[in-house]
Amino acid sequence: MPGDINGADTAWVLISAALVMLMIPGLALFYGGMVRVKNVLNMLMMSLSCLAVVTVVWVAYGYSLAFGPDAFGGLIGTLRYAGMAGVGVTDVTGTIPTPVFAAFQLMFAAITAALLSGSIADRARFSGWIVFVVIWSSLVYFPVAHWVFYSAHGHGGWIVDRLHAIDLAGGTVVELNSGVSGLALALVLGPRVGFRRDPMRPHNLPLVVLGAGLLWFGWFGFNAGSALASGGLAGVAFLNTQVAASTAVLGWLAVEKRRDGHATTLGAVSGAVAGLVAITPSCGSVNPLGALVIGLVAGVVCSYAVGWKFRFGYDDSLDVAGLHGVGGVVGMLLIGFLATAAVTGSARGLLYGGGFGQLGRQTVAVLAVGSYSFALTWLIAKAVDRFVGFRVARDDELAGLDLLVHGETAYDLGLQTAGVGHRLPGRHESGTPTRPADRPIAEQPH
């Protein structure tokens, strides 16, 4: 429905879209630094490929499935906007041009798929991954985005418009969705060779910190941009994002210092991401004091959650379920306690006298998205494994994916590779002693 375009809103959402785009290379570095040196490039490529692949799918039909008018009782959008029909220079969504909205939402779709890659680090076939991303975005991301992000005055996505659960920036669509799907993926592909036996240390922690820094920076666009306007709500979301990330860092480090004896760098950035995840749904419904609590709880809970994989034996390699799944649930449920009418306008959580109503609605949203994502992702991963092949051969996994899949090596540190090449015939300098014919070269044992 056409309305007036607001210049400030448009400018802010344009910038936010670019900020969210930057999170994808940020995520690539965050993940890339955490894997072993033989798989860095493959890890980067799994994220970067999402940016390219999801963009194409989005233009073809993804935007329409997510934001087209209801089909099947609101489970998904229709194909009315396929090929970006109805997304022209004069089309308006809210107070911003529809192409701006479509670009902003595209970045969400791309990074959510990229998030999943962390759960199957070091062992996925690249072709299987690409096929998976296309199918998963189509059958899991776009429907769930329609449930939560599509709003049309009480007739839109069922989770926001009918259930009235609160999820401003995608605690369900992005975080819980990727976390639960990551768990399903890890279960289908199985653990890496040597899981729970070999040390699989992060090969480059400064790279992880750089990636986390870009994520934190981009997250301001992710959360405050989700206000879809440049105003008070964006401001509150921006401030809450910073607050929750900070207390989550402190919460995680406190646990580490007490439990393991050291406050680690990896713990600090993991805490930051946990806090950012948890504040994603809640940034537009709590005040900064609420954000303090949400960050702290997320930091503490996630610092334990990432250890569950060793107890139960699933190899969620880079803790997608432990950070995004658990952090997403923490953020969604704490809205039920901490939402305040001063920010939301009406909805109130348990601690602000709203009773159990909002908490119940948040729980239903979590259960609905969680179970749908898990079941569908498990089926899709099984199908890809069966018909395309999702896991590399054991020897290839041991050798490392960078050289094998991409034909490249991440680091050339000189000594090991300097001067190695094919010796051309006729390059021996004169005067070099030659081996006498009666002394044949001995067989060199390998």
């Binding site: 040390p199 699989m200 580490e256 393991d260 004896g261 050291h262 680690t264 990432v306 250890g307």
Partner: protein
């Protein structure tokens, strides 16, 4: 001639170098190495998960010397590299058949 090889803790390199210079050794070769002996590595914790890292970073120092100096050079290295804690390393000596200085072609003791 002898080749004295020492595997030492990396932070002890300066002490070992000074001791060798004081003794009159004119050249040595240092390479980065990793391994374990009785020390058996250490534990690192990432996201709450403990990893036992069994290969510990070390430096390998190699010195070529005259037969008569070998025992003293070993003593110099051992004294300088010792901290008294586990993981101080090892020193060993092997005989060397031939040594040539690449620049001049000098051989034997003249090449040291």
């Amino acid at each position: 001639m002898k080749l004295v090889t020492a595997v030492i803790k990396p932070f002890k390199l300066d002490d070992v170098k000074q001791a060798l210079e004081a003794f009159g050794v004119h050249g040595l070769t240092v390479t980065e190495a990793s391994g374990y002996g009785r020390q058996r590595g250490h534990v690192e914790v990432y996201r709450g998960a403990e990893y036992e890292i069994d290969l510990v970073p070390k430096l390998r120092v190699e010195v070529l010397c005259d037969d008569a100096d070998a025992a003293d050079i070993v003593d110099a290295i051992v004294t300088a590299a010792r901290t008294g804690t586990i993981g101080d390393g090892k020193v060993w000596v092997v005989p060397v058949e031939a040594v040539v200085r690449v620049r001049t072609g000098e051989r034997g003791l003249a090449a040291l």
